[in-house]
């Protein structure tokens, strides 16, 4: 990880205090273009908090978040999203009674407030319409296009959420436990999907508990424990890191 390449995402010296509690303590990490990076750690280690700081939901007490070298720290969430960071949630958060198709349309980026958005979707932005169709095909969601997303099976809901996230045309995709609660086949589907997304040019930062899944997938790993970064490195390095084994594998069994 020493190249001169400009990182897609840089988080430098992030500290987040809640009242008197230090939820994140001086965390720094980076994601390079077309790289899959994982954050692992036991429950309460601060993984989701890190996501929330990156996406602007929390303002960090100190530290800076940069996307392609440009600071986006604590900007409003929607501006960070437009700058190129999308995410999914640990507990899937889909829009109430929207169909799959509507999920893809609503997330399409638009040049700010134009009167065209007042037109029916088909005419508002034909390009967005086509892009949404492509994503539908790409994520194999065409069959369920007009179904209410929340009524679909869990695995497909995950895919819809990812589809919604990439509809916003991000440069960096944050996935919060993408395979939680999935069986092996479903998880493998998602793994292949993530690899394809990476190949199409996305950078990916993900959180998961499933060690096998993470080790198989990620190019680089960060390990958090009680808000402190205790290790980082390639999967093989992490696998043999005694600190990690002790802190993470030790009490997570």
């Amino acid at each position: 990880m020493t190249g001169k390449q400009q990182p897609r995402l840089e988080a430098a010296g992030i500290t987040k205090m809640f009242g008197g509690i230090r939820a994140l303590n001086d965390i720094s990490l980076e994601v390079l273009p077309k790289q899959i990076v994982g954050i692992i750690g036991p429950n309460g280690a601060g993984k989701t908090t890190t996501f929330n700081v990156i996406t602007g939901a929390y303002r960090p007490s100190t530290g800076e978040v940069r996307l392609d070298g440009k600071a986006v720290t604590a900007e409003p969430s929607h501006l960070i999203a437009r700058a190129g960071i999308s995410r999914t949630f640990q507990n899937i958060r889909l829009f109430g009674d929207m169909t799959v198709w509507e999920h893809l349309l609503v997330a399409q980026p638009h040049s700010d407030f134009t009167l065209r958005r007042l037109l029916p979707t088909r005419w508002a932005d034909p390009q967005a319409f086509r892009r949404a169709e492509e994503i539908l095909e790409f994520l194999k969601l065409a069959d369920v296009k007009d179904r209410i997303a929340r009524s679909l099976p869990y695995g497909i809901q995950r895919r819809v959420e990812i589809a919604r996230a990439i509809s916003a045309r991000p440069k960096l995709l944050l996935l919060d436990e993408p395979v939680a609660g999935m069986n092996h086949d479903e998880a493998d589907d998602i793994r292949r999907l993530i690899l394809t997304l990476r190949d199409s040019g996305l950078s990916i930062l993900l959180i998961d508990h499933d060690m096998a899944f993470v080790m198989n997938l990620c190019d680089y790993l960060y390990v958090l424990d009680f808000g402190v970064m205790i290790a980082q490195g390639r999967p093989d390095q992490i696998r043999s890191n005694p600190v990690v084994l002790d802190a993470y594998l030790g009490h997570a069994t």
Partner: protein
Amino acid sequence: MMSTYYAGLLADVGILLLGALSVYIILATGQLSLGNAGFMGIGAYLTSYLTVTMGVPLTLALVIAAAASGAIGVIIGFPALRLRGIYLAMATLGFGEMVRSFFLNFDAMGGAGGFHGMRHVSLGYIWTWAAAILLLVAILEHSQIWLELRAVRDDETAAALVGLDTTTIKVGAFGFAAAVAAIAGGLFAHHHVYIEPGNFSFERSIDFVLAVILGGSTVGAGALVGALLLVMLPEHLRFLADWRFAVFGGLLIAMLLVRRQGILDRSLFRFFEFRRSA
């Protein structure tokens, strides 16, 4: 030829429809307003002032009043961002009562004594506005912006994280709704040719909400059905004499029990679309 009685009732339906649509638009972003009678009052007084005192033609006066009320709606919309759910509803309730109280003391336009001098408008004129705005809302319902409204209602955080500007959407909805309510007010004033502050009370705000919820809060056409129901039902319960409104209250509860989502809902529309294509 329609009897003038039904013409009168339909005029009330048209005005109530506009008021209900104004609640519907705000509700589409997940906010409940119990103060839209306030915007209606602003529209009624401003339109009447323009036509009676300034001699402005009614259509222009309505447009000006809608724009002014819309601007007030946007101004109200910003602090409203801080509040959610029932707390927002109560703040809007307070707003509506403040507007009523203001006009009660606004002696330049009659205060409690009311304001006169408007010219009566035809049923056709009222329904031109009502139908145009209903159509506008129906078109908007298929637009990109309406999808964004629904996304904001369903999950504001998730909506922001796919790049939707939730502030502009919510404030914009408030402004648009305030403009629609103002048109309802202007038409009300020129239908009844007399207004007094009591016309724009909490009771009327609640009527708007009731029309939306009974008719169906997920489609704009629900407001039409709800408005028809609220105006027509009490007229058709007259045979009950003294028990008319007690039974009316009971029927409201019964309707909510049978169809809490309202008479119309989106799945019903899908059902009919499905039938059509089959």
